[in-house]
């Protein structure tokens, strides 16, 4: 067992830290969050530095590094500035289905723009009546000649109002049994019949929108079908399971960020004539936060390491997706407690960290749904 970061991992982390320090201005970040705007400027610069989707192969504009190395970078970005870091990482996660199941032509056409920071993508699965339950979808894709006609609506779709393209999932076979009638498509946002708009204020992930998309008789060429017809559910699951480890990494970054701020406060703030870190209650809270983060991070790294070995383990990945967000939420609450009154203000970033931590618990499958899957992995069929 080897627990040390490789020299490359350390270098990448340093580089990202320097980049974030140089590029992020807290005042600008707060303004972006307030206006709910995507940080395009930093996103493009991060793309030029090779910090976006760096695990993509080189021919697709990536750096060809392992997912673990990429996640260490992402963790560091979010740790430094969650509003920016989350936006940077959420640009490419939605394109995972395309990366894993698209054909060469499709991948070459759409993916390099993501690594360069020129575009963001969205994945459109969730519908008003299908959240955790996606055995069937209400959005229909009907084949007509060389095209599919998309009809229906999607909800809570990250970045759908600014994305260059979506991977959309729709019911192609309405008579199929559960899970068996869904297909995936690549759909460009600027296609006739598509309307997408942000649906309002959220507690977290404020620099990325959450949209409704309406598809009114949208014509999609059959070349844009992802993989095989009616295999969509399997693609979603495979891609999500990989994306979920990234979500776990985001949560670790959030927890570390909140912890850093609490630690700094405890070392400087004085009450009753001493640094508040000298009070046992504060000290113990910090220790507990550190214990939680270290153990959750190890679980997350292990899941990533297994993935990079080509031995992705579903139970390990999903347990990381459950544990890390819970730790992040708890750490943020404790950090707010330590900063007391100050912790409640946006300027200290903690409300934002907490909001994003809640999002990591809910994004790409709620913790409860992950636990259902882990339970069936552990218990088998009963």
């Amino acid at each position: 067992m080897e627990f040390a970061f490789t020299p490359r991992q350390r270098l990448l982390r340093e580089a990202v830290r320097e980049f974030m320090k140089g590029e992020c201005d807290p005042a600008v970040t707060l303004e972006l969050a307030k206006k709910k705007q995507f940080p395009w400027e930093i996103y493009r610069k991060a793309g030029q530095h090779g910090f976006l989707a760096s695990y993509y192969p080189k021919e697709l504009g990536g750096q060809g590094i392992p997912l673990l190395d990429y996640c260490i970078m992402m963790e560091e970005m979010i740790r430094h500035d969650n509003r920016i870091g989350m936006a940077l990482s959420l640009g490419s996660i939605p394109a995972k289905v395309l990366l894993r199941f698209g054909n060469e032509e499709q991948k070459k056409r759409y993916l390099p723009k993501l690594t360069k920071g020129e575009a963001v993508s969205s994945i459109a699965v969730t519908e008003p009546n299908h959240g955790s339950d996606i055995r069937f979808l209400d959005t229909r894709a009907i084949k007509k000649g060389d095209e599919y006609i998309l009809q229906g609506s999607k909800i809570f779709i990250t970045n759908a109002d600014i994305a260059e393209f979506y991977t959309v999932f729709a019911q192609t076979d309405p008579d199929a049994g559960p899970y068996r009638g869904i297909s995936g498509f690549i759909v460009e946002r600027e296609t006739e019949g598509i309307t997408a708009w942000d649906i309002g204020d959220k507690i977290g992930i404020k620099t990325t929108s959450s949209c409704i998309i309406e598809f009114r008789e949208v014509r999609v060429p059959k070349e844009n079908l992802l993989g095989k017809e009616n295999h969509g559910f399997i693609y979603i699951m495979e891609a999500l399971n990989e994306g979920r480890i990234e979500i776990a990494s985001q949560a670790i970054g959030l927890a570390r960020g909140a912890y850093d701020r609490a630690l700094a406060h405890a070392k400087t703030r004085e009450q009753f004539g001493q640094k508040i870190g000298k009070f046992q209650n504060i000290a113990h809270m910090l220790v507990e936060m550190s214990e939680n983060i270290e153990s959750a991070a190890l679980l997350c790294y292990k899941a990533l390491w297994l993935f990079d070995q080509g031995k992705m383990d579903l139970a390990t990945s999903l347990q990381a997706k459950v544990k890390c967000p819970l730790v992040a939420i708890d750490t943020c609450l404790k950090a707010m407690q330590i900063l007391a009154g100050y912790g409640l203000f946006e300027e200290q970033f903690l409300p934002g960290y907490l909001g994003d931590a809640l999002a990591t618990w809910l994004l790409e499958g709620t913790g409860q749904i992950q636990r259902n899957t882990v339970a069936s992995q552990i218990l088998g069929k009963l």
């Binding site: 009070f279 046992q280 209650n281 113990h284």
Partner: protein, 382 residues
């Protein structure tokens, strides 16, 4: 709303405390070590009127309510949980007689219990029917004017010492509804075919009698039916509304006792040149324990209050039992922790409290079953 106990209730508490500290505390450790069942102590408690206070006067009681019964047991459990369990289970099952028994049954069976001459029991659990009581298979067949009982029950309080046991029997196996198949029969333990083996090796409360019971063609006259034929399950549910609130009181008493020991110990014990009570970590623990106990006590009293008003509340009783037992487990754990290594030795009583506490989360419905009961009350049957 009035949260103050009446003068009478306060006097009852003082008397119970005096008895518990004077009579139970001195012999508790020895009884626990030897597993002796102390019959004398039951007689003494009965002479002072502590047994069956909630029986009407014509049945030998004091005509008081569940709340007074709860206060007495709370004080017993505070001083000495092991012997308190002996005195708690002395009347176990009598609520069933009070609720559903005939006038003759009440007059015949309750007064000797209030006098301390007899103890009762209630046999529900079977090897294959724990939480799932509706699966109980101990069979009672009606033959002429008698019932003939065959089967076995496990982990039954007072099995070897009770004068009579109420037995939850299967009388209508052909009935479609699982909740209409059972009836409750009163079985005197001197009837031929009744056999009870005391169980040894319990984790705690070792002085209390617990037995496995076997019925081999045990005949009882039809007058021994308690309530209505086929109504056993529903009667049991109503009964549990009463008994579960009382478990809450036991848990509150145990918590209070453990808590007071922790307070005393931390004020005396010195480390790093000061009492450990002067450390913030200790103070916060004590504060948390005190708050938890207060919530458990208030909830338990409210559940008892509902019973005494003639409106037992399934949800409140289940909440009182689950929450108070959980509080007991947490409080006793922290109390032992504060004793450090000494807490682990039997020089201090705290380890006995620790061992006694766990049963509170198990008997008369595990904590999981309590949560089911609460969930169903809140949500209806989804």
């Amino acid at each position: 709303m009035d949260f103050e106990l009446s003068n009478r209730q306060k006097q009852i508490r003082m008397a119970a405390r005096e008895f518990a500290e004077g009579e139970l505390l001195p012999i508790g450790k020895e009884c626990e070590e030897k597993g002796d069942y102390p019959r004398e102590i039951i007689k003494k408690a009965a002479q002072l009127g502590f047994i069956g206070v909630f029986f009407k006067k014509e049945y030998g009681g004091l005509g008081l309510g569940s709340l007074e019964h709860a206060i007495i047991l709370e004080e017993f459990w505070r001083a000495e949980p092991g012997l308190a369990q002996v005195l708690s289970q002395t009347v176990f099952g009598t609520d069933m007689l009070l609720l559903y028994g005939s006038e003759e049954q009440k007059k015949k069976y309750l007064p000797p219990i209030a006098k301390g001459a007899w103890v009762s029991g209630f046999a529900i659990t079977e090897p294959e029917a724990g939480s799932d009581t509706a699966s109980a298979s101990t069979l009672a067949e009606k033959v002429g004017e008698e019932y003939v009982i065959n089967g076995s029950k496990v982990m039954i309080s007072n099995g070897t010492v009770a004068h009579f046991i109420l037995v939850y029997c299967l009388t209508h196996p052909e009935e479609n509804s699982k909740t209409k198949r059972h009836s409750i029969l009163l079985v005197e333990t001197d009837r031929p075919g009744y056999k009870a083996d005391r169980i040894h090796g319990k984790m705690g409360i070792r002085a209390a009698d617990t037995a496995n019971i076997f019925f081999n063609n045990v005949r009882v006259p039809k007058e021994n039916l308690v309530g209505t034929e086929g109504n056993g399950f529903l009667q049991l549910m109503k009964f549990l509304d009463h008994s579960r609130a009382i478990i809450g009181a036991q848990a509150v008493g145990l918590s209070q006792g453990a808590f007071e020991q922790a307070v005393q110990y931390t004020k005396r014990r010195k480390q790093f040149g000061r009492t450990i009570a002067s450390f913030q970590a200790t103070q916060f623990k004590i504060a948390e324990m005190a708050t938890l106990i207060e919530t458990a006590r208030t909830l338990t009293y409210k559940a008892c209050w509902a019973i005494d008003r003639g409106h037992p509340d399934t949800q409140l009783s289940a909440m009182a039992k689950w929450w108070s037992a959980q509080v007991a487990i947490r409080v006793v754990d922290e109390a032992l922790q504060l004793h450090g290594g000494y807490g682990y030795l039997d020089d201090y009583p705290i380890e006995r409290y620790y061992r006694a506490a766990k049963i509170l989360e198990i008997y008369e419905g595990t904590k999981e079953i309590q949560k089911l009961a609460i969930g169903r009350r809140v949500l209806g049957t989804p």
